[in-house]
Amino acid sequence: MRDAQIVEAVLFASDAPLGPEEIARADDTLDEDSVEAAVRALRAEYLESDRAFEIVRIAGGYQLLTRPEYAPYLDRFDTIPRPTRLSGPALEALAIIAYRQPIGRVEIEYIRGVGSTGVIRTLQDRGLVAVVGRGEGIGRPLLYGTTPQFLEHFGFDSIDDLPRPETLPVILKEPSESAFRAEDSQSASGAGPVARISPG
C-alpha cells in the first residue's frame, strides 16, 4: 500500500480539512513529511488524470473538494442544502471581529454605527465566532474572536489570507496597525486627523 493511497483514503473519508499531523495518525509509518509528499503526489495525479476534485489547503489542513467549474452541474440537484450565505450586516461584523479580535460588542457597534447584538448571535450560532474572553471594563464585557470554522467557511488557509490593511484601497493612515491590533490605537493619535476609539 503506497502512502499516497492511505492519505487519499483518509482525505476521501473526511468531511473537514485535516492537518498533515492528523492524517499521519492513519498509519505508524506516516509522518508529516511523508504526508506532505503524498499530497504532492496525489495533486499531480489528479491534475494528470483530470479528476473532478482536487486537494485544497484550508484552515491549515487539506481537504478534497470538487473543482469549482463543476458547480453548475451540482447546482442542478435541488436537494442540495447549499450553505446559506451570510447577510451584509453579518459579514461586516465578521470582518471587524476578524481584524480586531478579541473585541467586545460595544466596540463592534461603534465601528459599524449600528446595533449588532442580533448579527453577533447569528455568527455565534453558525460557529463562525465565539466568546474568547472577557474585557477589563465595567461589567467585564464578553470578547469575541473567530473560530476555525470561520476559515473553513471562506476557504482560507489561515487568518493571513485576509487582505492586509496596507493592501486595501482605503488609506487609513495612522491606525493602519490598529486594524490588526486594537491596543495600538493610542500610538496612532500623534498626528493627522486621527482620534482614539472610545467606545460609548
Binding site: 470538487t66 473543482r67 465601528i111 454605527g113 467557511h153 486595501l168 486627523p193
Partner: protein, 258 residues
C-alpha cells in the same frame, strides 16, 4: 422608504435608506458620490443632505441615524466656534473622519469575504449533500451488522419452541474458527460452496456459525457471497482484483447473478 429627492439642487440623488447598513454607510455614500475629500468634509452641506435623507425614516428604525445627525450638527457647531488663541486643538471632524475611513475598510473587507464565500460555495466536499432525506431521529451511524440481524431472525424460530427466553442459540463454536475455515478453503479454490463447508461439520450451530462467518467476511469485503436464487447453493468467492476486471461493472459486495 424613499428618501426625498431634491430636484432643485443639482447633484442630488435618490437613495433608498434600506440599501444602507447604517448611518456611516449612508454618510460614506454621500461623500463618495460627490467626490468629497473625506479628510475635509463640508460639514454644513453633508449635514443638510443627511437630514434630508433620514426625514423619510420610520422613527422606530431611525435611532442610529438620528444619533449620527446629532453628531453632525454638533461638529458643525464646533466648527463655527472660534478657537482659543494659541491652542491648536483637534479638528472637530477628526473622529468622524477616522470612523468613516475605518468603516470604509470594513466594507472593503466584507466585500472580500463575500467573494471568498461565493468561491468556496462553488466547491463541494465529499458527501456534502444528502440526495435522500436522511433519517432524522438518529444522527449517529448504525453499527448493526447483517449477522446480528440473522441471529435475530434465527431466534424467531427458537421462540417458537419451549424456551421462549432464549432468542439466540448458545454458540459453542467460535466465529473465528469458521472465518479461518472459509479463508483456508479460499486459499485452495477461487470459490467454495457453502454447503461443502457445512457438510464438513454437521450440526445446526456449525451451519449458522459458518454462515455468520461468511456474512461477516462479506461485510468486510474479504469475500463475496453469490447465490443465483433463493435456496440455491450459496457460493463464497475471493474478492480478487482480477475478478473485478473480469466482471467489468459487476462490483457489488453481494451481487445477484441473474
Amino acid at each position: 422608504m424613499h428618501a426625498p429627492s431634491s430636484s432643485a439642487e443639482p447633484g442630488m440623488f435618490i437613495v433608498e435608506i434600506d440599501d444602507f447598513e447604517g448611518p456611516l454607510d449612508l454618510l460614506l455614500h454621500l461623500i463618495r458620490e460627490q467626490d468629497i475629500d473625506v479628510v475635509d468634509i463640508p460639514v454644513s452641506r453633508i449635514t443638510r443632505q443627511f437630514l434630508e435623507v433620514i426625514e423619510a425614516l420610520d422613527l422606530d428604525s431611525a435611532g442610529e441615524f438620528l444619533e449620527m445627525a446629532a453628531t453632525l450638527v454638533r461638529i458643525k457647531a464646533q466648527l463655527l466656534l472660534p478657537r482659543p488663541a494659541g491652542e491648536p486643538g483637534e479638528d472637530p471632524r477628526a473622529e468622524l473622519v477616522r470612523r468613516l475611513l475605518e468603516y470604509e475598510q470594513v466594507r472593503v473587507v466584507s466585500h472580500r469575504l463575500r467573494s471568498a464565500e461565493a468561491e468556496r460555495i462553488r466547491r463541494l466536499a465529499k458527501g456534502f449533500f444528502p440526495l435522500r432525506p436522511a433519517p432524522r431521529a438518529e444522527e449517529a451511524p448504525l453499527e448493526t451488522t447483517w449477522d446480528e440481524l440473522l441471529v435475530a431472525a434465527v431466534g424467531v424460530a427458537v421462540q417458537g419452541g419451549d424456551e421462549r427466553g432464549h432468542h439466540v442459540p448458545r454458540l459453542l463454536v467460535s466465529l473465528e474458527e469458521k472465518v479461518d475455515l472459509i479463508l483456508a478453503a479460499l486459499e485452495e479454490a477461487r470459490r467454495v460452496e457453502f454447503g461443502r463447508l457445512v457438510r464438513s461439520s454437521p450440526g445446526r450451530v456449525h451451519g449458522v456459525m459458518t454462515l455468520l462467518a461468511g456474512l461477516e467476511l462479506s461485510r468486510e469485503r474479504r469475500v463475496r457471497l453469490r447465490q443465483s436464487r433463493y435456496f440455491h447453493e450459496l457460493w463464497i468467492c475471493r474478492p480478487e482484483a482480477e475478478d473485478n476486471r473480469a466482471r467489468g461493472d459487476e462490483q457489488s459486495a453481494v451481487g445477484s447473478e441473474p
